[in-house]
């Protein structure tokens, strides 16, 4: 099977840009540190699990935002969980939007919550696309690249 010799570098560059552009933080590196030959896809597994598991939270928040009056305690509780998971995978921008949302919950600012939730969803979707592209490229480059550590 022919290998593109430029792939490893492309993978590294793509990975670095995810950090440089603020999509990922140190926690993602922590997850990468947990990969080895026996568990070469650990990070992708966690990220996949995150998107699958948090989908229900996103739906719950969406539903809760449709209610009137807004139940800020419930919204905050959902968002606390969502923020926690996002933090665990190193989703920096998602996590930041979650924090903003929780601030609005705290101050009872419904419009702020609704507005910020659009941001949350946007960052959540963007991160997913970028990580999917990254994992796909990393897989093409070969197992060693998929398990690459921070430089």
């Amino acid at each position: 099977m022919e290998r593109n010799n430029h792939l490893p570098r492309q993978v590294a560059l793509m990975r670095q840009s995810l950090f440089d552009q603020g999509y990922l933080d140190e926690q993602f590196v922590q997850l990468e540190e947990l990969q080895d030959d026996a568990n070469p896809n650990f990070v992708e597994e966690v990220v996949t699990l995150y998107y699958r598991d948090s989908a229900r939270l996103v739906a719950s928040i969406e539903q809760a935002l449709d209610k009137s009056p807004l139940d800020f305690n419930k919204l905050d509780s959902y968002m606390h969980q969502f923020k926690g998971s996002s933090s665990s995978i190193g989703g920096r921008k998602v996590k930041a939007e979650c924090s903003q949302f929780r601030e609005y919950c705290r101050t009872g600012n419904g419009e702020g919550c609704i507005r910020t939730f659009q941001q949350v969803k946007r960052e959540y979707a963007t991160l997913r696309k970028k990580l999917e592209a990254y994992f796909q490229l990393a897989r093409q480059a070969g197992p060693r690249e998929a398990a690459s550590r921070s430089t």
């Binding site: 140190e26 922590q30 650990f42 998971s85």
Partner: protein, 251 residues
């Protein structure tokens, strides 16, 4: 749903252990019960523990944790020893029974109170940390949990397990050595040595931000910035428990 990690019903021989395992007698692997309602966090903590040479059982609630520990089935300490748990690490915020409530139940049980309990929380709230430590928690880790956090716990646990095996001749009592004042000074060096391994990244000292996080404001949020650069994430490497023990002198 609960996920069970590897649970050994018999002691493993030393040749099955990770070569880097510092346990002096080499015959006991640390068995950790991890409790977290988040599926993602369970997966991560399980991996963190396994990669640190611990056996892991991961459950999704305090109720299941108590079931696993045999607390709700009127089992005696004798029955319990078959599933020897060396450390319980639990999330604080969980639906139903919180990590704090679980901690209390464990400390109220004569069969289980000796097991060290570590609390994890995404919220760096001094009042919460204090409450947990006062209730007998061994340590408090701010999420997201890092490898250095687990390594620090692991080193403490392994030393504890080894000491127990030496002093008890392989007995399975779970002494919380940190709470014996005579051990406070002897535990410090191992903290330093464990911490020095993680000096390249900040660990999770929850007490340090006291100057910037006032204890009268229990709802102060953790900053959204990355932990390595945030002003509320100093890189002091001591665990809050040790600092608490040394400054307040309480046991």
């Amino acid at each position: 749903m609960a996920r069970n990690g590897v649970v050994s019903w018999r002691r493993r021989s030393s040749d099955q252990l990770d070569g880097s395992d510092p346990s002096p007698c080499g015959s006991e692997e640390v068995h950790v019960l991890a409790v977290d309602d988040s599926l993602v966090d369970r997966k991560v903590i399980e991996r963190l523990l396994k990669i640190s040479s611990c056996k892991v059982t991961a459950v999704d609630s305090g109720i299941r944790a108590l079931q696993f520990l045999g607390l709700d089935e009127e089992k005696t300490a004798g029955d319990f020893n078959g599933l020897k748990v060396d450390l319980i690490i639990t999330d604080y915020c969980m639906p139903g029974m919180t990590g704090y409530e679980l901690l209390k139940k464990i400390k109220e049980s004569s069969a289980l109170r000796e097991i060290p309990v570590v609390i994890m929380s995404s919220e760096n709230v001094v009042a919460r940390i204090d409450r947990c430590l006062e209730e007998g928690a061994e340590d408090f880790i701010v999420k997201p949990v890092k490898l250095s956090d687990v390594k620090r716990l692991r080193d403490f646990m392994t030393r504890d397990v080894g000491d127990r095996a030496r002093s008890d001749g392989g007995g399975t009592t779970h002494k919380r050595k940190l709470h014996e004042s005579s051990d406070a000074s002897s535990s410090s060096p191992s903290v330093s040595s464990a911490s020095s391994l993680s000096s390249s990244q900040p660990t999770t000292p929850s007490r340090s931000p006291s100057p910037s996080v006032s204890s009268s404001d229990p709802s102060s949020p953790s900053p959204p910035s990355t932990r390595s650069s945030g002003p509320c994430s100093p890189s002091s490497l001591e665990s809050p428990t040790r600092r608490l023990k040394m400054t307040s002198g309480c046991d």
